[in-house]
């Protein structure tokens, strides 16, 4: 064994206390992350969820920004510009350049209507010459408001009901669960329709109807989770120390319920949007002069054979919003509950 490694003498000197302090072997290299930070980090890794978040941010800004800046008035009628197809500046592709197939020939609808060269309707106009883009923005705004309201009731009624029921347990719990079961055994749409009949169609009645029906799922999940948490040691400790139940609920239960709550909220939202669009589509939701994605779809569907863009645009926007919420919900579920993703 001639090739033994020759180590220098000074490698074998004992460490001085100063050396040891500089090395700091106990130090944790990565910064410690809180639960929320950790979830945020995981969410950012999920491309679908991240893109959805950006898309939703854009949709929110455009829909609510259109209160102040709108390309046209969504309700302004202009019969001479009726049924113009979409025309986007700088895009020459058929379908986006203001041309239309009429009697087998592609004609420039804008020229026919006598519109000046600078007239652009990004999504075209409807049968009364109203700007479809502004109307879609308006309809999206209504959808988003409905979504926010549904979330609000989910968080207030649903969470409180579920926590109370789970915390109390026993007879009260059984009774409260029976109520939920009864609500769940009537199809949601039927409940909503009955309420709308009583309250007269319109925005308010849709909101009330969705408020009354959307919270049940949340209440059930929160209850199940509360019952599980109730038997944990830290809750027992808090009770032994004489903490008031309300404070336990806010300080100990709510933070531990947060992931269940956030995830479920993300699935309530597309549901609420779907219900509003559907009710307006069959004509018992938001009524005609007002725009909603449902009424726009219904109007567009009538002319789908000849003016397909009138349905494609609202359908596309509705689907994108729903898709974004669903993807974000999936991403949040994986982020908050890493066990679900294998």
């Amino acid at each position: 064994m001639a090739d033994t490694v020759k180590l220098p003498e000074d490698s074998f000197k004992p460490m001085t206390p100063a050396d040891r302090a500089a090395l700091d072997s106990e130090k944790i290299a990565a910064p410690s992350l809180t639960f929320a930070q950790d979830a945020w980090r995981r969410l950012k890794k999920n491309k679908g969820a991240w893109v959805s978040l950006i898309v939703l941010a854009i949709v929110f800004i455009m829909a609510f920004g259109s209160i102040f800046v709108s390309p046209h008035n969504p309700n302004a009628v202009n019969p001479s510009y009726a049924n113009l197809p979409s025309k986007i500046p700088g895009i020459g592709i058929n379908g986006f350049n203001g041309t239309l197939v009429q009697a087998g020939q592609r004609v420039d609808a804008y020229k026919q209507a006598g519109a000046s060269a600078g007239t652009y309707y990004i999504m075209g106009t409807d049968y009364l010459g109203r700007d479809l883009f502004s109307r879609v923005l308006y309809g999206t705004r209504i959808s988003l408001i409905i979504a926010l309201v549904a979330t609000f009731f989910d968080l207030t009624i649903g969470v409180t009901y579920g926590m109370f029921s789970g915390w109390k347990g026993g007879r009260i719990d059984t009774f409260m669960q029976r109520i939920i079961e009864i609500i769940l055994s009537i199809p949601n749409l039927v409940v909503i329709v009955l309420l709308i009949l009583i309250l007269k169609p319109g925005m308010t009645s849709i909101i009330i109807a969705i408020a009354l029906t959307s919270w049940t799922n949340m209440a059930r999940l929160v209850r199940a989770q509360t019952m599980e948490l109730k038997s944990q040691e830290y809750i027992l400790a808090a009770r032994t120390l004489g903490e008031r139940p309300l404070k336990i609920a806010f300080k100990h239960l709510l933070p531990n319920l947060s992931s269940v709550i956030i995830i479920n909220t993300m699935f309530t939202i597309p549901n609420a949007i779907f219900f509003e669009a559907m009710l307006s589509y069959i004509g018992i939701g938001i009524s005609s002069p007002q725009a909603s994605l449902g009424t726009l779809l219904n109007d567009g569907q009538k002319n789908f054979q000849f003016l397909p863009y009138q349905m494609w645009w609202p359908a596309l926007v509705l689907s994108i919003v729903m898709l974004a919420f669903n993807l974000l919900g999936d991403g949040l579920r994986d982020a908050f509950d890493p066990r679900t993703k294998e």
Partner: protein, 309 residues
């Protein structure tokens, strides 16, 4: 088991009783009468019509009569079609709805199972990705948008299927497809998650170690265990189809109860609305009961007594 069943049936009846009571009193709150041009009628004529509909009695008597009738399947007379009992209206229209609904749920769930288990088997490959895309699209695109697109492209343009109306199997294809897409997506998602879970469990490892073929492992061990929990989402899927059918039947002008429900709402036909509400709730209750019992039978790990909560 018998005790559990009795308890569940009791709750089913209680639920229906509450549904009937609530809808009855809600409908009493509403304005409107069966009379179309009230101004032209004399007092005695109005009284006669009220008597025909039983509206001359005090509300509690009407309620008791309605309840007694509902138990026997008699929901009064329609306001809209003045000589037709609601029960006849419903029973003559329920068949198309049931057929489309059942077809949609069967097609949706079966295709969903295939797509979902395919995705789980080929985890993180292009097959998995496309299965995920299909299921997320299915959840995001509303059935009524899909219905119009199918009607236009497969019905009008391609001419493969009739565009609307009712009569024979070919008429059911498009509405079934439109309704089946959501159950398809939901069950594909569900099966995929379950299957991924099952495939990583010890008994699958054992089966592989025994030298079973890949299909043998999937078919005999993985599939069965991942399908059991699927029963739990049949209830929510049934609700989804009932809701969807109201619009889809309208789009394809199918003479079903969904179309009738919307029509009754638009014409304020209260007795029909009430009757249909009760029928819908009854169907949903039965579906929920059957799936709960099936779940207990199929999966012995679930103690049926514990599930009552």
């Amino acid at each position: 088991m018998a005790k559990y069943l009795a308890k569940r049936i009791f709750y089913l009846i209680l639920t229906l009783f509450i549904v009937i009571t609530v809808t009855f009193f809600l409908m009493k709150l509403l304005p409107g009468t069966p009379l179309t041009n009230q101004a032209k009628l004399s007092k005695s004529q109005i009284a006669l019509i009220y008597k025909q509909y039983g509206l001359d009695k005090p509300v509690w008597q009407q309620y008791v009569l309605y309840l007694a009738g509902a138990v026997r399947g008699n929901f009064g007379t329609s306001f809209q079609f003045s000589d037709q009992p609601v029960s006849y209206l419903i029973s003559s229209r329920i068949e198309p709805s049931l057929q489309i609904g059942l077809q949609a749920i069967i097609v949706g769930v079966i295709v969903g199972i295939i797509i979902g288990s395919f995705g789980a088997m080929k985890q993180n490959t292009w097959a998995d990705t496309s299965a995920t895309i299909v299921s997320i699209l299915g959840i995001s695109i509303p059935s009524f948008v899909l219905a119009v697109l199918l009607q236009y492209y497969l019905g009008l343009k391609a001419g493969w299927f009739p565009i609307a109306e009712w009569g024979g199997f070919s008429y059911t294809v498009l509405p079934t497809l439109a309704l089946a897409f959501t159950p398809l997506a939901e069950s594909a998602r569900f099966v995929r998650t379950e299957m991924v879970d099952v495939l990583s469990s010890d008994y699958i490892e054992l089966a592989k170690a025994k030298g079973l073929s890949r299909m043998g492992v999937i078919y005999h061990h993985a599939l069965r265990n991942s399908l059991i929990p699927l029963i739990t989402i049949v209830g929510p899927l049934a609700v989804n189809i009932m809701t969807g059918s109201m619009v889809v039947e309208n789009i394809f002008s199918i003479p079903g109860i969904g179309e009738q429900f919307v029509k009754s709402v638009l014409t304020n036909d209260y007795p029909t609305i009430m009757g249909l509400t009760i029928v819908y709730s009854f169907m949903l209750c039965v579906v929920l009961l059957v799936t709960d019992i099936l779940y207990g039978i199929v999966d012995p790990r679930i103690r049926i007594t514990g599930k009552a909560n």
